[in-house]
């Protein structure tokens, strides 16, 4: 019976179920891919941990696999956010259905259980589909290429218990998230009441950002101190600090966007002269968390992108310094200068950028759902405004203000925080070489060759790229929603319930 009630509903409910299932399938695929990479047995080949059957060095080299797996798991974050946004799709119709169940005698917990069952069922089907896709994909892509090597680790499979945990865990998690999302909702027989946080956001998110950046900034002096005392920083400690700092600043940026929305809403309300600004200002202050909720995945992707851009330019600067030292050394020694092939490392960052682009696309899906839902849930009031003569252009400008204000501020903040964190964690200067080089022709004729020192520049091009792509995503979704605004303000909506 619980299943029947959970699967009852309108076309919007069906769309929500399908999107939730799709999100679960994507998340399952990403987690299974990560587990598969980690399941590759470590093979000692002449002293190095390389699995020669794979073409891609990121998979072949055991030391890089944890990073690949971590990137794949990080991809599930925007997927989970998308699933969370899908849960809001068609919320008014679902709320009425849940109220009807209450009217028919269901208790509040039973109504919540029905909603959670819907999410769990859809996610369960999605997880099974994800497992099926993984197994089918494994067969389809499992043929070695002309070089006899595999493009992906299709020759290994995670242990069965891990597959079972993922397929069972994803729907359980989805059900729990659905229950969590309904925690502020009071289901009554007469309708659904959402408890709104009336207290305006506080700027404590700034403390999280400062705390994260401060923690990161402590690392270089600590490393220098340990270096002076003849010790080196444990890799695990470095990794832990980076993880904690990244989590703190990411959370700070996401929560901080709520505060920024509130403050910009207040400023806009004070200075706006036209109705569009006034409408947007009031909406921003009425629910400042909408911005942070809808933009969370996008902001996280931009923050990680900025961090990766900082790492990439640092690596390129290091390579340039090493190449310069090698060239000078070759000049002195008279040996031929042979530049290093850095294609592999650049390729690794290309893959990271590709993963971040995928994350941005998935985040865009969540944002599209959230923006569309915000219009649909207000369609009656907006249709009434249009009927009283408010031009749709005014509503469109209000929507643009309301969307772009937190988006622009949040994206710039995320990019700035990401690059600041990276530059706090790593020295801003790199050096290569330092030593005595002797001429090939006369081995006793040696000179002291100083190290080549380079200052790591800001990755302005890549930062502009991430910020630009994120803003382009928001702008294009805004344009789509402006089209939706037109249909949602049709006079027929005045009769909608």
């Amino acid at each position: 019976m619980l299943l029947r009630l959970a699967l009852a509903g309108s076309r919007t409910d069906t769309v929500r179920v399908v999107l939730t299932g799709l999100s679960a399938a994507l998340a399952t695929l990403a987690i299974l891919a990560a587990l598969t990479v980690l399941a590759i047995p470590t093979v000692l080949d002449g002293g190095s941990n390389v699995s020669p059957q794979y073409r891609n060095p990121l998979i072949a080299e055991a030391g890089l696999r944890v990073g690949v797996a971590a990137t794949l798991v990080l991809l599930t974050i925007p997927v989970l956010v998308l699933a969370g946004q899908c849960a809001r799709l068609g919320a008014p119709a679902r709320d009425r259905r849940l109220a009807a169940y209450r009217m028919a005698g269901a208790g509040p917990r039973q109504a919540v259980a029905i909603a959670a069952t819907e999410a769990a069922l859809a996610s369960g089907l999605g997880a099974l589909a994800g497992l099926g896709l993984h197994l089918v994909g494994r067969q389809l892509l499992g043929t070695p290429g002309a070089d006899g090597k595999l493009a992906l680790p299709t020759d290994v499979l995670p242990p069965v218990w891990q597959l079972a945990v993922v397929v069972a865990g994803v729907p359980v998690l989805a059900g729990l998230i659905a229950m969590l999302l309904l925690r502020r909702v009071v289901l009554t027989p007469y309708g659904v009441v959402r408890r709104v946080r009336t207290r305006p956001p506080r700027p404590w998110a700034g403390l999280l950002i400062l705390g994260g950046l401060g923690t990161a900034a402590l690392l270089p002096p600590l490393a220098q101190y340990l270096d002076r005392s003849g010790r080196s920083m444990p890799y695990e400690l470095f990794g832990l600090v980076v993880l904690v700092a990244e989590l703190a600043v990411t959370l700070g940026v996401i929560v901080g966007t709520g505060w920024i929305s509130h403050v910009t809403g207040r400023l806009l309300h004070r200075f706006a002269r036209r109705p569009a600004g006034l409408l947007a200002a009031r909406r921003l202050t009425a629910d400042p968390w909408t911005g942070s909720r809808t933009l969370a995945a996008l902001l996280a992707a931009v923050l990680f992108g900025a961090f990766a851009a900082g790492l990439r330019i640092r690596m390129s600067t290091e390579f340039a310094a090493e190449a310069e030292y090698a060239r000078r050394s070759a000049e002195v020694s008279g040996l031929p200068y042979e530049p290093w092939d850095t294609t592999f490392y650049q390729g690794a960052y290309d893959l990271v950028y590709l993963a971040l682009t995928i994350a941005l696309v998935i985040a865009a899906g969540g944002l599209l759902v959230a923006l569309a839902e915000s219009i649909v849930s207000r369609r009656r009031a907006m249709a009434a405004l249009v009927a009283t003569g408010v031009p749709r252009a005014v509503l469109g400008r209000a929507l643009a203000w309301q969307t772009l204000t937190p988006a622009v501020a949040g994206i710039v903040l995320a990019a700035g925080t990401g690059i600041t964190l990276q530059r706090g964690l790593y020295d801003r200067e790199v050096s290569s070489g330092w030593g005595t080089v002797c001429r090939e022709a006369s081995p006793t004729d040696c000179v002291e060759l100083p190290a080549v020192v380079r200052t790591v520049p800001l990755p302005l091009d890549d930062l502009a790229g991430f910020v630009g792509v994120a803003l382009a995503v928001v702008l294009s979704l805004l344009l789509v929603n402006l089209l939706l605004l037109r249909t949602s303000t049709a006079v027929e909506e005045l009769r909608a319930t």
Partner: protein, 229 residues
Amino acid sequence: MSFLGTRAAVRSYGPTPALRGVTVDVAEGEILAVTGPSGCGKSTLLHCLAGIMRVDAGEVFYRGRRIDTSSEGERARLRRTEFGVLFQFGQLVAELTAAENVALPLLLAGARRREARTAALAWLDRLGVADLADQHPGEMSGGQQQRCALARALVTEPRVLFADEPTGALDTLAGEQVLGHLVRLAREQRTTVVLVTHDARVAGYADREVTLRDGVLDPTGLGIAAVRR
């Protein structure tokens, strides 16, 4: 040609006809009640007269000019400047305060914020809800919300007020209060009112009543208010 009206207006929703050749005239300063059972086309007639929707055939005119052939922009400007519209419920913007909701049409017309707020406060005062100026619709009763909505509909001092079941969602006392204000202010300002209702008591406030049945005017001319009397 009368002040406001339709000639043989036809309007359908897909295969379902809502208006089947309705001709109605409204005199300037008149309060006209449009009555009839649910689904007879009352609201559709009001929407066509107010230029909210177009007719499929026939004509809609206002002050000697056809408005059914006007562009959406022109009709929106007309609704903003010459008409006021009042619905049953749901027309206030939830995030704006009562004063801001009432000031909105003035801001759209280009008024400065301070002037618009002053005018909004004066109208809220005339409707007895000045103390709610800084409250949001969610903090008000249905009757209070409807009085704010009436203030918003009248703040531009329109020549015509269109009211679609304005008391449909209110209890008797609140409904009487809103109607009392509506009729008093309309008389004071010589505002023409087109009032859609299925309530005989509400129709009784009007100068004249026309009744729609299945998309056509009832030829007997015997409306629900007249029957009640």
